[in-house]
Subunit: 334 residues, 2 copies
């Protein structure tokens, strides 16, 4: 049955929301590793908002996925054949293996996964790119200090849930914005957020003035749109806006409006700074050590939402991100 | 005749463009200095785009001018009566004296003006707040380095014309955006800008791609609006956008749209940072020394456009800024 390797390839660039016409599944023999190579049996594939951007044929920080190419994806799996000393058969590894069942690798940008520290899916979340993004976004880009009031949007997502906990562990007051009462109570009752705002329940602007009457020092933005604009209205002097993502606009077919309140940056001597996690590859060990310590001590709660259905379910699972249908890190079991 | 002191006071908050109903002129006796005080006969009053913001009753970095209050203004004049040892009769001084003919002062935030270095109006321009704004915006906020490609909007204005020359003196390639061929040729032929874009002559976006095919490292924004959006489209990696002003929107009666291309900050790992020159008061000597040296060596060209008409002409002269009717620093002779 699984003696074949199935791969999800980009069939057609989506306009707006992705659908069944976006992908095609191809089948080919499982590759054989050459010298210095190994083959991974993929167990979990990561679903990330940034993937939507990789499907657009526009210049960006990374080339778009080409028509006919295997969909770019971070994934974790087990080495099932190897001619590489560092990655023996049975090792669990994480890497940019793509949306497929088996992947050939030479070890470049591959991480050996310590399943004693955390189960494999966590290496796509808190100990993977989302965790790295949260860590460097809060510490480096946001220059967050103990005592800061930190606002996080997409707070129940893979990045936001870790970013908020890091800020909390650093001694900040943390306010999370999320959709729905379940996510909000998870944030305050389990993750230790100080306050939450349910953006589906009413005016975010009004709720922000109540939750942060003296304003915010750091805004970690995962969503863009109206919520970014509302956050700009409550900046304190010398505040830092960290641009991590803007998921509210990723399926838009015309450019969404920009933040009309951007002059709050001027009045409040504040900054808005974007970053790309791939620039921090060399500093990943620093973040993994910090996050690993917090996990070991039980201070950092990691959560993955594992969807089933294998490679056929990739598109519908990816769309869940844009519907706010996930809590924590969304992964697909293969 | 001038034994009375006339003062321009805010009569009514403007909606949109200021007009005759905005102001009233009051007449009162010239004040007498008490101990530690002096009286200044105002010679030149500064006109600044930020003044429009000071007329709005909204929280900002400085309280709005109150109804019935003398209009806040930087001005330069001669001490005509004094009971203050540091400011004797005959001294030329600059300070926030307001839009009036005579001002009483205790010396707070007042600068003694060296008219051997530059004539009095220059102390409202290159050696006043606009020069300070240009200096710290380029060096400190923009973190400009030799070799950078620096784009300046409002480039023929009081701040822009100095900012561009500072960047040029630092060894940058400087592109200026200004309105009309006269301003543009002044920038390239006299001030040493490397290229200019006449925003009235066609698409700024297209012209920017031609003038900076490899993108820009620093954008010093005085205008906001469509030009800011066009500049965001040509950011290089790790570019810095310096938010100095947004004159294109200051008379708007509904909030102008925000920069829809702000996610260029994310893709290009760039920042957009606002600043207020009043935060740099303690470092003014550093900037004045640098600018003074450049002026002495003939490396920095300063230009003031001196309008006449006295206090009655304040409103119409201020409106010239929003029509792009000035080149260099706009001042009103009293």
């Amino acid at each position: 049955m699984t003696a074949q390797n199935r791969q999800l390839r980009l069939a057609k660039r989506p306009v707006g929301r992705i659908d069944d016409t976006t992908w095609e599944i191809t089948t080919e023999p499982i590759p054989e590793p050459g010298t210095g190579e190994f083959v991974v049996r993929i167990q979990y594939v990561s679903l990330d908002p940034a993937m939507r951007g990789w499907l657009n044929d526009v210049p960006s920080y990374i080339p778009p996925v080409g028509i006919g190419e295997v969909m770019r994806a971070h994934a974790v799996g087990t080495v099932c054949a190897s001619q590489h000393d560092s990655y023996p058969v049975g090792a669990t590894v994480a890497g940019m293996f793509g949306a497929c069942e088996y992947a050939l690798s030479d070890g470049r940008l591959v991480t050996l996964v310590d399943t004693d520290l955390a189960p494999a899916p966590t290496w796509l979340g808190a100990l993977g790119f989302p965790g790295m993004t949260a860590y460097f976004g809060i510490t480096d880009v946001g220059r967050t200090k103990p005592g800061d009031t930190v606002l996080i949007s997409g707070a129940a997502g893979a990045v936001g849930s870790i970013a908020g906990q890091i800020a909390s562990l650093m001694g900040c007051r943390v306010i999370g914005i999320a959709g729905g009462p379940e996510k909000c109570s998870w944030l305050t009752e389990e993750l230790g957020f100080d306050a939450t705002i349910d953006y589906r329940a009413g005016s975010v602007g009004r709720a922000l003035h109540e939750a942060a009457p003296e304003g915010i020092d750091v805004y970690f933005d995962n969503v863009g749109g109206d919520i970014l604009n509302s956050a700009l209205a409550v900046l304190r002097t010398h505040a830092r806006v960290v641009l991590c993502g803007a998921i509210s606009g990723y399926n838009a077919t015309t450019p969404p409006p920009g933040p009309s309140r951007y002059l709050s940056l001027l009045v409040n001597r504040s900054s808005m700074t974007g970053f790309i996690i791939f620039d921090y590859l060399k500093r990943f060990p620093e973040a993994q050590a910090a996050l690993g310590n917090w996990i070991r001590r039980g201070d950092l709660i990691t959560r993955e939402q594992i969807e089933t259905g294998g490679i056929e379910a990739f598109g519908t699972t990816l769309n869940m991100l844009f519907d706010g249908a996930n809590t924590g890190k969304l992964v697909l079991a293969m």
